[in-house]
């Protein structure tokens, strides 16, 4: 029976103070959108740079006279080396084609023969991508006579490593800051929303409402608020992604829709943030009026 009161009052509370309620919903929406966009920004950025780094890991040039069996054998050994995630074989012909494509000159017609060696491009798993580990790999490659030369752009490699770490660090700090800030702002907004109900709380307290009866409708209201905020946030993020795609600005490799658990998490975070925020504000108010 009292449940009826709590539900009625929770919903009626929204109707009675639409403006502060919608304010708070938007505040939650904004908080969650900022967090979401931040996470996607970092995810996508790292993926981009990771791809770039992966392409530039390591190139192994074969002796010009290496037989295809020898190459085959080497390829097997390398692909079984721990941490190697991908290996691409570029034949002499592939190399010549690439050259032509890049410089617009046909090497074969120019020189009559193909001076470019065949090669293997090796990509390491992210966890193995340290320059120390790769240097050890190079060392072990020295024993193969079929290898002419190894191209490891250690300098570039390290540089990209640094960029990634920097972006990680700054972005993590920024996102942490944004989360803190928006949670703070939202909590504030909820507090002001509750402050606006001062008279109501004061009055029903004097009429004999128990703390539970005072808090429960607000808790419900907070939950609804958070659910709405979370839903709006997910919609906005999806919308932003679509917009980026539509205007062909960039094709995001990571999208929120691919991660239902992220969507669920966003909603739950919104709901708990709001419900608990409201609860905390009411509790503070009760301490104040008591």
């Amino acid at each position: 029976m009292k449940l009826g009161y709590i539900i009625n009052e929770g919903v009626a509370g929204i109707r009675r103070s639409k403006m502060p309620f919608m304010n708070s919903v938007f505040s939650v929406t904004i908080a969650l959108v900022l967090v979401g966009v931040g996470v996607l920004f970092v995810d996508n950025g790292l993926k981009y740079i990771g791809d770039l780094q992966a392409d530039y890991d390591l190139e192994i040039f074969m002796q010009n006279d290496a037989s295809s069996e020898e190459i085959q054998e080497l390829a097997t050994i390398i692909s079984e080396y721990p941490g190697v995630i991908r290996m691409d074989y570029l034949s002499k012909q592939d190399a010549a084609d690439l050259y032509s494509a890049e410089f617009g000159e046909n090497l074969l017609t120019l020189l009559g023969e193909n001076p470019l060696p065949s090669s293997l491009r090796v990509t390491f798993e992210e966890n193995y991508r340290s320059s120390v580990y790769i240097q050890a790999f190079l060392q072990s490659m020295k024993q193969f006579e079929t290898i002419d030369d190894v191209l490891f752009q250690k300098d570039l490699f390290n540089r990209i490593q640094v960029i990634m770490q920097t972006i990680y660090t700054i972005a993590a700090a920024a996102i942490f800051l944004v989360i803190l800030v928006t949670v703070f702002l939202t909590a504030n907004n909820l507090r002001l929303m509750i402050l606006a109900r001062y008279e109501f709380i004061e009055a029903i307290r004097l009429l004999g409402a128990s703390d539970f009866m005072i808090k429960a409708p607000f808790f419900l209201e907070g939950g609804i608020l958070g659910f709405l905020g979370g839903t709006f946030a997910v919609l906005i993020i999806v919308g932003l992604e679509q917009a980026l795609a539509a205007f062909n600005v960039i094709n995001l490799p990571v999208r929120i829709l691919d991660y239902p658990e992220v969507i669920l998490g966003t909603l739950l975070f919104g709901i708990s943030l709001s419900a608990l925020g409201v609860l905390k504000a009411v509790r503070r108010m009760l301490r104040f009026v008591a």
Binding site: M1, K2, Y5, F200, E202, L206, G208, S210, D211
Partner: protein
């Protein structure tokens, strides 16, 4: 039912109520009489435990102010009807919801609530105003609503603070009659007023206050 024992109340401003001693029984009707600033509202606040004495003990329904728990206060208030001097109506809900509030808090069924509220509104001449909001009523009308809300849940104790301040003679008579009727149905009433006419017209035990002290406690 209500007992004050050596109660002292000191405000930060230096103003204080001193050595209050009285006992009010289940079926009594008591005037709390005194000029403005005498301490009437302060005593009522101590009865519904919105204010606690600095010394001595207030006991309501045998629960003492010194060891009452937060939860118990809510229970005590549910058994007390209160007409506040400044009404304390909820401005953002209509008269119907204002009067229905104590019943809703108790968890009554909607149709039970409706019939009770409508009956009470009829009794207080508020039937046509149920859908209006407090700011659409005159001060006197708001006072009537406040009284209707106070008695809607048949309280064991009814506290009324100057319930006729904004009423004309006729309405005031109606309201005091209504309060007496509530008393006759078995409710303990404490009636704060600064109008000497009231205890004179309808005599009852009168606790007279002057600047925080009880000077007389008997029927006037």
């Amino acid at each position: 039912m209500i007992s004050f024992e050596n109660v002292h109340l000191r405000y930060d401003t230096g103003i204080s109520l001193r050595d209050l001693n009285f006992f009010i029984d289940k079926d009594e009707f008591v005037y709390l009489f005194g000029p403005t600033g005498a301490g009437k509202s302060s005593i009522l606040k101590m009865i519904y435990m919105d204010l606690f004495p600095n010394d001595g003990q207030v006991e309501i329904f045998n629960i003492g102010s010194s060891k009452v728990k937060r939860k118990e206060i809510a229970h005590i208030r549910q058994r007390i009807g209160m007409v506040f001097q400044d009404f304390k109506l909820l401005m953002d809900r209509d008269i119907y919801s204002n009067i229905a509030l104590p019943l809703e808090l108790r968890g009554l069924k909607p149709n039970e609530i409706r019939s009770k509220v409508v009956r009470k509104a009829d009794e207080f001449g508020l039937r046509s105003r149920l859908n209006h909001f407090p700011h659409e009523l005159s001060s006197g009308e708001q006072q009537m609503v406040s009284l209707a809300r106070a008695v809607i849940d048949s309280p064991d104790i009814l506290l009324v603070d100057e319930p006729t301040a904004h009423l004309d003679q006729e309405s005031a008579a109606g309201v005091t009659d209504a309060i007496w009727k509530v008393h006759d149905s078995g409710t303990c009433v404490v009636f704060a007023t600064n109008k000497v006419e009231l205890p004179k017209r309808e005599p009852a035990r009168t606790i007279s206050l002057v600047s925080g002290e009880i000077i007389i406690d008997r029927e006037l």
